[in-house]
Symmetry: C2
Subunit: 307 residues, 2 copies
């Protein structure tokens, strides 16, 4: 067997993303040793029961000692605290990365604390499900998904290539962009959809003219699609909202403006405007399917009786 890409990988945080990484790294032999750290003793014990790693530490500083790859898999709001904690213990030459959904804030939070002799290369695998925690992860999560790296100025090309090789080993394709552009792209492709989903589920929950049991019974008519995103981890999404504020507010404004136009078309019976909007949106789904980012099975391939 060839040498693993990294001698020792430390995962800080062992939720959906961290535990999926642990599983795929093990399966693909991408690291000689996997060290897992998380602040909750219960979660750490569960990771050990699941045999996700080789060593388990509550102390993140202890966990990163001697690691040549450190991946933060924590809500983005915790990035500064973790960086501060681990900084004194990091091995020279180590690659430090993360999986957070916002990047400019992660750079601002972490960079000031990290020593100059480590390679800090922020990253974001575009993958996930609505489930959370160490039990929710699975090795195939990153397969055929994009992982975006947002290297800061002066990043060592060799270190960046090594991290790219790691993510390719996990099944991902690599893109590189600047942190601010990442945050704008993700504001529309991920953050706005989650906020809208949370919001519509909240609106439905508040109704009094329509009961909650009616919303549940008839949810197959469309509503249930939104409940998946709205079941995502609340801490993670609170942090995303707080740490990508400007881009999210910009996308929310555009969305609301557009929605006002639709509302006006409905009020004034402008069928043509509605038809035009409802027609052009079809093509985008087709493109997403063709790009291999979505199934073309009807209804996401949900099971319908015995069909």
């Amino acid at each position: 067997m060839s040498d693993p890409l990294f001698r020792r990988l430390t995962l800080i945080g062992i939720g959906l993303i961290g535990s999926s990484l642990a599983r795929v790294v093990r399966r693909e032999g991408l690291a000689g040793e996997i060290v897992i750290s998380t602040r909750s003793p219960q979660t750490l014990a569960r990771a050990e029961e699941l045999a996700l790693g080789d060593r388990y530490c509550l102390d993140a500083a202890e966990a990163v000692e001697g690691a040549d790859l450190v991946i933060l898999c924590v809500p983005v709001g915790a990035s500064a605290a973790v960086a501060k904690w681990i900084a004194p213990a990091l091995a020279p030459g180590a690659i430090v990365t993360d999986v957070g959904s916002t990047k400019a804030s992660v750079v601002a939070q972490m960079q000031p604390h990290l020593p100059a002799n480590v390679h800090f290369i922020p990253g974001h695998p575009i993958a996930g499900t609505e489930y959370s925690g160490p039990d929710a992860g699975f090795a195939a999560l990153f397969e055929n998904r994009w992982c975006i790296l947002t290297p800061v100025e002066g990043t060592d090309p060799a270190a960046q290539e090594k991290l790219s090789a790691f993510w390719r080993g996990c099944g991902s394709n690599i893109d590189v962009m600047d942190p601010d552009h990442h945050d704008l792209v993700l504001a529309i492709t991920s953050h706005l959809p989650h906020i809208i989903a949370y919001n519509i589920v909240g609106t439905a929950d508040d109704l009094q003219t329509v009961t909650k049991s009616e919303v549940i019974k008839y949810s197959a008519s469309g509503f249930r699609d939104f409940t998946r995103l709205a079941a995502s981890d609340p801490t993670m999404w609170r942090d995303v909202c707080l740490h990508n504020k400007d881009a999210i507010l910009e996308m929310l404004s555009r969305f609301s403006e557009d929605l006002s136009a639709v509302q006006r078309a409905i009020r004034w019976g402008d069928g043509q405007a509605l038809f035009d909007l409802f027609t052009r949106t079809r093509g985008i789904r087709r493109s997403i399917i063709e790009a291999g980012q979505e199934t073309d099975e009807p209804d996401f391939g949900r099971h319908h009786g015995e069909a």
Copy 2:
């Protein structure tokens, strides 16, 4: 073999719902004969190629002759025209129903044209996919889904029970409610989700700072969930918006109010308000799964690599 429930079923419109009905009715032997009518010669020819019925007529009036069950499966905006067309040809005692997504408008459009000697019982099966046309249908579409009947005053209980038995034969559960309440319930569970989905896809399509190819590549981070609803039939959804205007405008107002509150929480960094909203929405998905209206597989059971 026992006698079928109906001697002759006429389906007017043979899209996703009509063609699914044709398939399940055939499989379950719910009608002795299936007559199919649709205004497009191409679609009718396709229905015949698929062998969905026993007879095929472009003329809806001719198609309903001698039928003891007539089901309109057309966009709701076409209800008045079809009712007017078929009215003189309806057999006394026939049950006339529909599958439209709005009910008060369908009652208002159809009832004035229909003769007093037929049983008009509006209906709405809460089932569908994002695909349209006679090829898109499948027999299991209605299985374990609700079908809502909205009978008008003075409806014959025996006719209503016979229609209920028909839908149960298709695999559905039956609910009965008044047309206005139906329209309110569906405005939140179906119409608002579709409008929001169309709108967010439109907003993304209009961006210039983020390219369309970026939206497509990174859509797995949330956006793609919305594209499914936004790929639904534009004519059907234009008609829904025009024919359930008041309830939809009411739900849109509530949604926008709630979204403004979220926007404000993001702007002012009110993490607690965000966390509270993001937490209470989780329970609704759990209830929908428990009610058998949704899969509990992560990510709608979408395929992730080999997992």
